[in-house]
């Protein structure tokens, strides 16, 4: 049983709980309006910041985390694939591909509906931690958000 299998079990087990806890209210999917203004983008990383590498495939773990609150989905990839933000930051994902994608946390913390071309999804991170996520339609698309205190 691979990592993703275990993550999938965890996701499925927590999907309902996450929905009931109101986490869905933190994430929004919009198809027509432009993305909201960026919330206090992180421009530097604290030397004391916990930098434990995310538990994700090597393709994303190999790239250094980028301080950003904006992720572009293009060419069947999340870019940057590995970002770091501070607690309270709202991250925006925008799909620029012709095909649809999702932004789905493997641990169930957040999850978008299908994002059509030009649609975006936002989620506000209220707890520190490492969040691995993928596109459920193209699950070879994986990426990570590291949230620091």
């Amino acid at each position: 049983m691979g990592l993703n299998t275990r993550l999938a079990r965890a996701l499925l087990a927590t999907m309902a709980a996450a929905s009931m806890a109101g986490l869905a209210a933190c994430g929004t999917t919009t198809s027509s309006a432009p993305p909201p203004a960026a919330a206090s983008p992180s421009t530097s990383m604290s030397p004391s910041m916990s930098m434990s590498m995310p538990d994700s495939p090597s393709s994303t773990a190999a790239s250094a985390p980028v301080a950003s609150n904006s992720v572009t989905i293009k060419g069947f990839a999340f870019s940057p694939a590995n970002i770091t933000v501070k607690v309270g930051t709202t991250v925006t994902w925008t799909n620029q591909d012709q095909d649809a994608h999702t932004v789905t946390a493997t641990g169930g913390a957040f999850g978008s509906q299908a994002l059509d071309t030009g649609s975006h999804y936002t989620f506000t991170f209220t707890k520190p931690g490492t969040y691995n996520y993928l596109c459920t339609i193209h699950p070879f698309m994986t990426a990570t958000v590291v949230v620091t205190p």
Partner: protein, 319 residues
Amino acid sequence: MTEQQQEHGKQQEHGMTRRQLLRHTAWFGSAVVLTIAGGEVISQLGGGDPPSAAADDANALRFVQISDSHIGFTGPANTMVEQSFSEAIGQINALPYRPSFVMHTGDLTHLSTPDQFDQVRQMLGTIRTDQTYTVPGEHDGVDDHGAKYRQFFGKGTKGDGWYSFDLGGAHFISLVNTLGLETMGHLGADQLEFVRKDVAHLSSDTPIVVFSHIPLFAMYPKWGWSTDDSVQALSYLKRFASVTCLNGHVHQLFTKTEGNVTFFSATTTAYPLPKPGEGPAPTPVTLPAGQLHAALGIREVSYVRGGQQGLAIKDRRLV
């Protein structure tokens, strides 16, 4: 006309020349006989009668496979997927016979919305056939592990939507390998056990047909065009003389034989995808004006009970 000119002409008709098809076959050691005639690609397991025989036999079991209609897609690769799907249905309804059933091998919708599922169900209801069947694609279970899909199409199914049935002397198994959040297709322990028990009582000379969305063979794992636990499922089918696996997902014709199993990937009614490894990702391909229909199509499958041949498969381009 030179061979090259003839092949060019065929490519205009099918989106793939005979030479390209045979090259694909050669790559994967297929023993499938491929014949192209009159706007059709005809496949047949080696030996037996001419491939058109089953199709012309009034006593044959005949069904149609369609796939990847992606209702709701609006990209430039096909801005009118509803129309092309409707044309595919019209082509089925214009066949000189009434197919016993029509199987849609997934990605019925593009975004898994209730409206899109409802539209597909209504459109499938216009097909002149005794029965329509479906299996879900990953686009049909985007945000709910296939719950909405099963509301519309899951009646009478088990687990995540798998089922089997018998018809015309053959046994049909419909599998769900798109809901596992794996990096590629995944069946899971429950479904594997279903397959094991499902075929346990069958005689080894029963032809087996397996439907799935994602290929059950390793067509291109880097793009998720494979199923990570299909070997286990196929191990339960090794004793059968004839096993045919029909899938969608890859939006292009492809065939491969491994032992007693022959795999056929179907094309789409929506838009083409690149050939394996051509480009960095399986992004929708926008063809030059006037060439889209040649890449889309329907598949006719025929089987004669007690005949010497396996299933005869005709892939027809959309007209």
